[in-house]
Amino acid sequence: MADVPLISIRDLKTYFFPDEGIVKAVDGASFDIPRGKTIGIVGESGCGKSVTARSMLRIVERPGRIVEGQILYQPDANGTEATAIDLASLPADGRQMRSIRGGEIALIFQEPMTSFSPVHTIGDQIVEAIQLHTSLKKREAKERAVSMLRLVGIPRADARVDEYAYQLSGGLRQRAMIAMALSADPILLIADEPTTALDVTTQAQILDLMRELQQQNHMGIMLITHDLGVIAEMADDVVVMYLGRVVEKGPVDDIFHNPQHPYTRALLESIPSVNATPRVKLPTISGSIPHPYNRPTGCPFYPRCPSFMPGTCDKFEPELIHINDRQDAACFLYGGVPAGVGR
């Protein structure tokens, strides 16, 4: 097995520069995406999970741009790090990036309602995607589109291919979206809140479908969601983000049963669960997520943190360090306090 991960994100910084100031949407995120596995990115709004995905595909909209860091992409399982492509340094509209985007790396958006063109049939849109990334003729591409729709479980796919997006229900539209994303046989599928707009029974169908498809073609999945239940269900590894930084990462079982970072712990405690005792007070995280212009200095979580250490957490930013052989966390509770801090 190859050791080089499919994607290795190193110290990625994507900032937005509106007139009012700088928004550090992603501020030094580092993590790897292994081949054929599902990595879950968890976080609340504003944590930078979607901007990270958009940075990988180089579709960050102005006034945002990648200011620092690398996104090393190694499609070849036997390749080395030296031959990896740095997506962050490619021209966003260049030929190489265009062939990767939507081809080798595909994206599913949250809103299946707005992600399709309303004036083209879903078949035409899938055919367009296929022809962009393969050398198939129109008729072959159409056949492929029908077989993709069938693969994702759309009934009467040969008729549905000529329908418009508004004619499909939410669940079917999300399936069509997945069909389009998979039509060019990607190595990595980025799913940004793929089931958030769907009902639970439909969500269960879509998650099952993603798992099945992963088994068939061994693609890597980067699953972005705020729903810890979905993460527990799907992910192999988990990255927890808060205000643009990775605060903890590790295998899913460790994250849920042995969380290290105070934020991860608080987040897990504060969710109501169908397995928990009802009508008792939920432990809460005090305060709310700071406004992006009001980013605290030091550790971004310190104003809400139960383990806040004055003089340390509000002055220095903790680095992501190994807690044990599986988990990393960015927290001064586990050392890494800069030398010379005497308190």
Binding site: V200, T201, L228, A232, P259, R279, T284, I289
Partner: protein
């Protein structure tokens, strides 16, 4: 359509134990006329059909049966949760209860503060306003439900103004009190909504709903637009307020984890009909309708060790404009028999307080959610 209401049925005493101290201004009845455990609201055979119009003359060619023969009671001081997937009619039901939309048929019996029972569904508009004071609503989206041009004082004070509190100082005092109650600083009252986060805005919406001391609060997905860490704060607030003010909640939600946390009883809806209604623990541990069981099984658990085999429902939710024959759920039901395809199941009481709409309810053993799994505790 035959119906027997289980007014004051045994087993519903989860609410009675939370005999909260009464209110802020003492304007509410001192518990004399309205007794604990008595139905505050009794909905009988509620229907709401939306006409489908076609063609140049806009002829009515059919109807979307958004709410179709729904019956339930809400007891004083309890939380009844309405759950179901999008389009199942849970929001329409809650809006009909408030008469925010006109029901097509059925009765909505509401016990007023004075102890008399009125049918909200048939009340002339002129007589609705005094009632509206007693039933209030908390909305889903804290961003669009607050007027951006009004200060908190105006937003929270408006219900009072509309209902005849003309004295400005009186309103200021009450708004101050309300803001404290929901955990906001009274100094905020001169600010505008944009200065607040989602969770804080939801608190503002709650303060507004409580401004007139309502007895029934309809909360339509009050936490689904909030971040996970803020959601817990609002759920705690809702529980605290219920204890403090002895509120009755009709809680509309699709998130079963939230529902499990906050409710006393749960009603499950599917394609405009209620398919099951029971005590919270009964619904979660021993559901009797196959749809409830499938819905529970589809909820992702926040524990990677309980990746269970799911009951995956095939197909799609039926179209309420053209529902299937017989039981609306039969095309997706793994237990369907021939009878289910032709005969509509009745809304029947299986055991005390446990209502089900299924031909096979008494014979099926359906899985619920097993609680107390080893290793479910986190952190």
């Amino acid at each position: 359509m035959s119906q027997a209401m289980d007014a004051g049925a045994p087993g519903g005493n989860g609410a009675a134990s939370r005999n909260g101290t009464n209110g802020t201004n003492g304007t509410r009845g001192q518990g004399g006329a309205v007794l604990e455990g008595q139905p505050l609201l009794e909905v009988k055979n509620l229907q709401k059909f939306f006409p489908i119009r076609r063609g140049f003359l806009q002829k009515v060619t059919g109807a979307v049966r958004a709410v179709d023969d729904v019956s339930f009671t809400v007891k004083k001081g309890e939380t009844l949760a309405l759950v179901g997937e999008s389009g199942c009619g849970k929001t329409t039901t809650s809006r009909c209860v408030l008469r925010a939309i006109e029901p097509t048929g059925g009765e909505i019996l509401f016990r007023t503060e004075s102890g008399s029972v009125v049918d909200v569904a048939k009340l002339p508009h002129g007589q609705l306003r005094p009632l509206r004071r007693q039933m209030q609503m908390i909305f889903q989206d804290p961003f669009s439900s607050l007027n951006p041009r009004m200060t908190l004082l105006d937003i929270v004070g408006e219900p009072m103004l509309v209902n005849g509190v003309r004295n400005r100082q009186e309103r200021i005092d009450r708004v101050e009190q309300l803001l404290k109650l929901v955990g906001l600083r009274p100094e905020f009252m001169r600010r505008f909504p944009h200065a607040f986060s989602g969770g804080q805005r939801q608190r503002i919406g709650i303060a507004r709903a409580l401004a007139l001391n309502p007895s029934l609060v309809v909360a339509d997905e009050p936490v689904s637009a909030l971040d996970v860490s803020v959601q817990a704060q609002i759920l705690n607030l809702l529980l605290d307020l219920q204890n403090e003010l002895n509120l009755t909640y009709l809680f509309v939600a699709h998130d079963l984890s939230v529902v499990k946390h906050i409710s006393d009883r749960v009603a499950v809806m599917y394609v405009g009909q209620m398919v099951e209604l029971a005590e919270r623990d009964t619904i979660f541990a021993a559901p009797k309708h196959p749809y409830t069981s499938a819905l529970l099984s589809a909820v992702p658990r926040p524990d990677p060790r309980s990746r269970a085999k799911r009951i995956t429902l095939l197909g799609e939710v039926a179209n309420p404009a053209a529902p299937p024959s017989g039981c609306y759920f039969h095309p997706r039901c793994q237990f369907a028999i021939d009878k289910c395809k032709t005969e509509t199941p009745a809304w029947e009481q299986l055991t005390a307080g446990h209502w089900v709409r299924c031909h096979r309810a008494s014979e099926l053993e359906l899985p619920g959610i097993e609680t107390g799994l080893p290793g479910t505790e986190t952190g």
